[in-house]
């Protein structure tokens, strides 16, 4: 059907997007790999040369690296747990007939549109501040000692903020999936005497499985890269207590000016993200065939 002419035209139309993305993918990534084998410190630009694996050895034997990996896993895992479980519960609630459903939806979805620095600073100053925050006020009301969240539980505090930002996303997607569940199937199960838990377990959850997978995979991609929330709240501290891998690489690159070390860290960040990406692509790719 497609003539040679239209095929050439199609290729021509696709070319700019393909070429740009190809350059975007190949050039910086190969530079990262190249730098990761170089001695290169921006403060000492004269002493450059081949470094072998020493950047990798240096970066991967640093105790901060393991702490950062642990923090990254905690952050991703914690936020995923809160948003997926919370998102399912919230989606089930919002799927009920309620008065003012439109407004409730708008209120629930809103945090997703708040830019990360605003979200983090509002939580840090107005909600979790040990002196003047809302949590401190509530603690004092009950006669308790206010908690200094970012000093005592830095990583947990960041998990809370990031979970607040992503809960709407999970809720919205799960709600969309829930609403495509066949009404008749639900009624049939109800008539057959299945109680709420049974219906949830044998009907709703399997129906949601795909949407849950998509939520987990997409969030993981973004959660591996959490940066601004850490920068404006704890700046990675105290010590390395709230430094994730992304933030550690930033610290190495732009605070220690160590190009080689940061690049070696960048390579593992790329590998980690790729592992997640492979699974995501499968989930999305399957949909493309339908």
């Amino acid at each position: 059907m497609a003539t040679r002419q239209t095929r050439t035209l199609a290729r021509f139309m696709m070319a700019p997007a393909v070429v740009l993305l190809l350059i975007w993918m190949i050039v910086p990534l190969s530079m990262t790999i190249w730098y990761s084998f170089q001695n290169y410190n921006l403060l000492n630009p004269m002493t450059r040369g081949f470094a072998g694996w020493s950047n990798y050895v240096y970066f991967y034997t640093d105790p901060a690296f393991y702490q950062a990996i642990g923090n990254t896993l905690m952050l991703v895992g914690g936020v995923l747990f809160i948003t997926v479980v919370g998102g399912i519960l919230l989606a089930l609630l919002l799927d009920q007939p309620i008065f003012g459903q439109g407004i409730v939806r708008i209120l629930v979805i809103s945090p997703f549109f708040v830019m990360p620095p605003v979200a983090a600073l509002v939580w840090k100053n107005m909600i979790m501040h040990p002196g003047y925050g809302v949590f401190a006020d509530i603690s004092r009301f009950f006669g308790l000692q206010p908690v200094d969240w970012f000093a005592q539980y830095p990583l947990f505090s960041i998990i809370i903020i990031v979970a607040w930002q992503w809960l709407p996303f999970a809720t919205l997607i799960l709600l969309t999936a829930l609403q495509s569940l066949d009404e008749e199937q639900k009624e049939a199960a109800e008539m057959d005497g299945a109680n709420f838990l049974n219906r949830f377990w044998y009907l709703t959850l399997p129906h949601l499985a795909r949407a849950i997978t998509v939520v987990i995979l997409i969030q993981t991609i973004f959660l591996l890269a959490v940066y601004a929330e850490i920068l404006v709240t704890t700046n990675g501290g105290p010590g390395y207590a709230s430094t994730n891998l992304a933030f550690l690489i930033y610290r190495t690159a732009l605070l220690s000016y160590d190009v080689g070390g940061a690049s070696a860290g960048g390579v593992i960040a790329v590998i980690l993200a790729n592992i997640v990406a492979i699974f995501l692509m499968r989930a999305v790719g399957r949909n493309l065939d339908r």
Binding site: M14, M115, V118, V122, A225
Partner: protein, 289 residues
């Protein structure tokens, strides 16, 4: 047998269902509004604080401000709010427009004359989106430094165009694919020329999809907070960087921070409310509709 039983229980259930349903609805409504209030509270409290005086802002929970606009005035007069705001507008709109110009032809050809490789190309484009920014922070910083793109609107516009291009192509592709190909044949039968086809038949059908893609992309570009924080400083810093600069404690200016934050998120929040459905589709690459 099954049919009879079904019919019988249906009648009984209907009466039961109605009685249960009103009470059910009231309880669900109450629970949903409570949860929604808790989730929305930080934003609400931020808006309230922006309407307080600075001493009021740190005086404990108080949901009724004195409705002063002094913080909004201060943000403009002391911090020149308009400059980062314009940077955000230029960068978000600019990167969205450039991405659309590049993506529309690509998505168009993939949707209307797909080849065996179309699916692979789409998947590959998506995979570039998975590359973590920190993985290429160092080379980009060096490239930008050496080419003088550091702290320029053009530099940031370029980066945001590239990181959102895959999503734009994908979204447009899923929209274009829904335009029935037969309609073109019908138009051709009626004697429409190629330009007539594009102007009168395809464009009106494509506009809604392009509009929602644009909306979502503006939201994403506006809120991007890695490259905008790292590659811009005094000149090209958009609102993300401007707000982040409040994190260094130069005293407690919460009313001012709240006013700046409210102004920074208001336009996007309103756009977001209108684009909920497209959001699901765009961010899941069509996997959930």
């Amino acid at each position: 047998m099954g049919v009879v039983q079904h019919g019988l229980s249906c009648g009984e259930n209907l009466i039961m269902a109605r009685r249960v349903s009103t009470r059910h609805k009231v309880i669900a409504t109450f629970a949903a509004w409570l949860v929604a209030f808790v989730i929305f509270f930080p934003i609400l409290y931020m808006v309230i604080t922006s309407l307080k005086t600075e001493p009021e802002a740190i005086a404990g929970i108080n949901l009724i401000p004195s409705f002063t606009l002094e913080s909004y005035v201060a943000v403009q007069q002391q911090n020149d709010y308009f400059k980062p705001f314009m940077n955000s507008v230029v960068i978000a709109l600019g990167s969205t427009l450039v991405a659309l110009i590049i993506a529309i032809p690509a998505a168009w050809s993939m949707a209307f004359s797909p080849t065996k490789r179309t699916k692979d190309i789409l998947m590959w484009m998506l995979s570039t989106k998975m590359m973590p920014a920190v993985g290429v922070l160092v080379p980009l910083f060096i490239i930008f430094r050496d080419t003088g793109l550091l702290d320029t609107r053009i530099g940031l516009t370029m980066i945001l165009t590239l990181i959102n291009l895959p999503i734009v192509v994908w979204m447009l592709y899923t929209y274009f694919r829904e335009i029935p190909g037969e309609i073109l044949e019908a138009a051709r039968m009626d004697g429409a020329s190629l330009s007539g086809e594009i102007i009168y038949v395809l464009t009106p059908m494509a506009v809604p999809g392009i509009a929602s893609t644009m909306l979502l992309n503006i939201i994403l570009a506006w809120n991007e907070a890695f490259w905008t924080l790292r590659l811009a400083a005094a000149n090209a810093a958009p609102l993300t960087a401007f707000i982040a600069s409040f994190s260094s404690p130069q005293g407690l200016f919460w009313a001012k921070l709240s006013a700046a934050s409210t102004l920074a998120i208001a336009p996007i929040l309103i756009m977001g409310w209108f684009s909920q459905r497209q959001l699901v589709r765009g961010l899941t690459f069509g996997a959930v509709k």
